[in-house]
Symmetry: C2
Subunit: 530 residues, 2 copies
């Protein structure tokens, strides 16, 4: 068993701490220069990363490179892609699984990194292509022979946030008439809000749960099946299962089709598996699915470079560690200047915080340093009229990653006062990046901007299926690299278990089977539920 | 001029710091008892606040009471409601305005706290009532004589996030056939996504901007007017203005009606003004608007009590200060167990962070302590399958406010395995609150839960227009109390100015008028925009 180093074990750690005592001052005249903006830039598939507005120097970059080398971050990433069991805690019972979300999209080279996993993915894609053709041709249709135009995607967490954010990002490119809806919350109002007024007769329902036992998803599936029957429809003609092979959902009598996901793909990393592609294929068509997967595959390949200055996900990861562990910023705001990405931060919040919100190293020892940050964000320019006040003048220091595109998705735009809306959007994006970095002095203390608010900019041409795939893979790889660097297991989620146990106890108490004098009964009494 | 104390000036400050050295241990057997859960509860209008899972004792509560008294928090709140100029920085040029959002809903007592402001609000409500009657009767209709069924609300920031989150919260109660859409972002894809496929002939457009000069809103208005004209419609027959009296939008030739807002109401506090009520009245009817306002008014009145144990907004504020300033938690997660509240955290993020993300006291001095936290959140149970891992087992400490309801909004629910979905939702809510507090030991270090994650629970019967009004006012008052305690001016937003200036410079550079060798031109070059 290989023992990996954490950042604390690295020689570069102390030197980085030393540098963090007086980080690069972006507000000092002559420091943030035009040359710096041009030079601190890393090109990758579909995007450039601009990091001139970070508080770091070439010396810090060299030390981060040393950190990456000592922790063998790229080597671990390569091992992960090739099928090494990375989901484990050494010396303790743990999931002991491979981590192969990258295999789902490794379709564009002659020799995939992990051929058996890619073969499984290809099999599901072939099934999906056939299914989509049949929906298109009308071979798959409702009892009256009408085509399906809607799809309800029922899932939660990893089976919901990724697909939802990607659908929102790409809905501008939907096939004519096609719409996707999402139900996730066990709150019955969530399902009701979707079902009310929808023409169920022309609706497919995709039930997404790897284990086939997720409480919320099964409850919502039952609500939806009831609604289908009430509308005089046969659920077996409308429902798809996206699940593990031979899970309780894998049942051809109850589902039109089953699409399989595998244990080597964690929910929060499953967007490029059938969890995302069934929905996306229905909405956009199979060709766009391949574009999406190819964008992701290109980014995965780029993540294997050893040079942090040329490896965008690795650089993004290490700049994040610089801000979080050395400059002590507890949160990361991801701020896309694209309304279509309005749910992307919510997906990253899940993918990042569930992966790296850990307190134990992969050898079972306590960390002794901070692991994953709180991740949050909303689109600009909206955020500028909301929480940016705190980013500029608050006492909390927030690390920021901006995302932007030169062109918009849809044709509609117009020139007002000499510029188009898209130009105004980009101008605001660049302006915020600079303003946060350089600040501004003023006689009036209330009009002072301290500056030195570090931020990066991930900039692309246009948000398309391909660039969305690349963006997703960029962040997945970033999160994986950071987990390696903190030496945590980014692929389990033991933290969700305790709540499940207590929820079952409270449900028992609600049914009159609670422990006399127990906390559960007391809490129910306190909130007035008998 | 009155000089207010900040928490640092208070005698209670040092004693609270002392208590924070060894805060109440929720994990210790016998500490979190059934009695504590019953006793640590504060009742207010429409909601109870349960705070037994906070790391505090009666002694800490006494000290927080002393802090509230020394800072004269309730007295300041009373002055605010009665029209004192609270939006100011003493000794420096500042906005010098009253703060009278509370007057908009102070309609249910014989003697309102600030009669002139309430009179203005009543005048607008009377106009709204007439207008809604005319829409209902068909006196206001499109050129063909058809009724209006859609409303597009065009605004940004304070003119968007509050109304949007309230609409989402209450859309279950819409009048039959009525729908509201929102356009906010200067990203032209935002407007395009709303306009594509909408029947504009039966659509009202409400343009919301106090100054009548907000860049994003005016750009989007032009896009929408163009779409109306392209559909052969007369914009003046479809557009409403919600704006300051005699702003550029206050023009009867271009707008069907104007509804007025006033300088004494900041954007982020404007949801109970015409900014929210025009939209809400169209969607739900005038009767529901009154319910909404009355819920808020009851909470405002309750916020005037001196006893923190009986004043819910004040208690919520001070518990927040305990967690933020004394237990050093940099962020606050607001987690509603109600899918309908899925945008409420985004509104609070704005209202809280724009109000209290400040570094200067109301006397112009630096703070010397932390002001407003980063606020974020998503609905449960969704979040349980996403970022809760970090809440339970991460290294970042997050203060949490849960929101829940005993009953759901819509009729649709069903029993599965002996309980309804709503029961499962509430069981999960209570379980998370307890699990975060008490934690769990385990031999396997990866299965350990440290516990002592402090959280409160705001619990109501059902999410209605009335309880939504109360919830909104609860948080508005909480934010105001915290701002008073930090001695910041919660009512200005100087932090948004620098970005505006730089955005205009970059727009000039895009038009070829940039400064040779300037940062703006360099940045445009670096991202590849010539």
């Amino acid at each position: 068993m290989e023992q990996w180093k954490s950042l604390l074990d690295c020689e570069a750690f102390a030197a980085l701490q030393q540098c963090a005592q007086s980080p690069f001052d972006l507000t000092r005249p002559g420091n943030l220069t035009p040359e710096r903006l041009l030079h601190f830039r890393c090109s990758g598939p579909e995007f450039d990363l601009h990091y001139g507005c970070q508080r770091l120097t070439g010396e810090v970059l060299d030390l981060l490179q040393a950190l990456a080398d000592e922790c063998q971050l790229v080597q671990q990433f390569r091992q992960m892609r090739r099928g090494t069991v990375m989901n484990r805690i050494h010396g303790w019972p743990s999931e002991e699984r491979q981590v192969l979300h990258t295999a789902c999209r490794d379709l564009f080279t002659e020799v995939p990194a992990c051929a058996p996993a890619t073969k499984l993915a290809q099999k599901e894609l072939a099934k999906l292509r056939t299914f989509l053709d049949e929906v298109e041709s009308g071979a798959v249709c409702n009892r009256k022979g009408e085509s399906f135009v809607n799809l309800i995607h029922v899932g939660i967490g990893g089976s919901d946030l990724g697909p939802r954010s990607i659908y929102e990002a790409l809905r501008a490119y939907r096939k004519k008439g096609r719409q996707v809806f999402f139900i996730s919350n066990v709150d019955p109002d969530d399902a009701a809000a979707v079902l009310d007024g929808l023409d169920l007769s022309r609706t497919l329902v995709s039930v997404v749960s790897k284990s086939g036992t997720t409480l919320e998803t099964l409850s919502n599936e039952i609500l939806v099946r009831q609604a289908l029957r009430q509308a005089g429809l046969d659920p077996a003609r409308h429902c798809l299962a996206v699940t593990g092979e031979s899970s309780p959902l894998d049942n051809p009598e109850r589902y039109l089709r089953s699409f399989y996901m595998y244990d080597s793909i964690g929910g929060r990393f499953s967007s490029t598996s059938v969890v995302g592609t069934v929905m996306l294929g229905f909405a956009l068509g199979y060709g766009q699915v391949l574009e999406f997967l190819e964008g992701a595959a290109r980014m995965d390949a780029a993540a294997e470079g050893e040079n942090i200055r040329a490896n965008m996900p690795l650089l993004l990861a290490l700049v994040g560690i610089w801000n979080h562990n050395f400059l002590a910023m507890p949160t990361l705001a991801v701020l896309p200047y694209s309304q279509a990405l309005h749910r992307f931060a919510a997906h990253l919040q899940q993918c990042d915080m569930e992966s790296n919100g850990k307190s134990v190293q992969r050898n079972g020892q306590e960390l002794g340093f901070q692991s994953g940050p709180v991740v949050w964000g909303e689109p600009g320019t909206n955020g500028q009229h909301a929480f940016y006040q705190l980013l500029h003048q608050g006492t909390e220091q927030v690390a920021i990653e901006f995302i932007g595109f030169k062109e918009n998705q849809r044709g509609r735009d117009m020139e007002i006062h000499g510029t188009r809306s898209q130009q105004k959007l980009v101008a605001n994006l660049l302006a915020q990046s600079l303003a946060l970095a350089i600040g501004k002095d003023d006689e009036n203390p209330n009009k002072r901007f301290a500056g030195n608010r570090p931020n990066s900019l991930v900039m692309g041409e246009r948000l398309t299926a391909r660039s969305m795939g690349a963006l997703l893979a960029l962040y997945e790889a970033k999160i994986v690299f950071q987990g390696f660097c903190w030496n945590v297991n980014s692929f389990d989620q033991e933290g969700v278990q305790l709540g499940k146990v207590l929820a079952n106890r409270i449900l028992s108490a609600m049914q009159g089977e609670g422990e006399e004098g127990g906390l559960e009964n007391a809490f129910l009494g306190a909130v007035g539920i008998e």
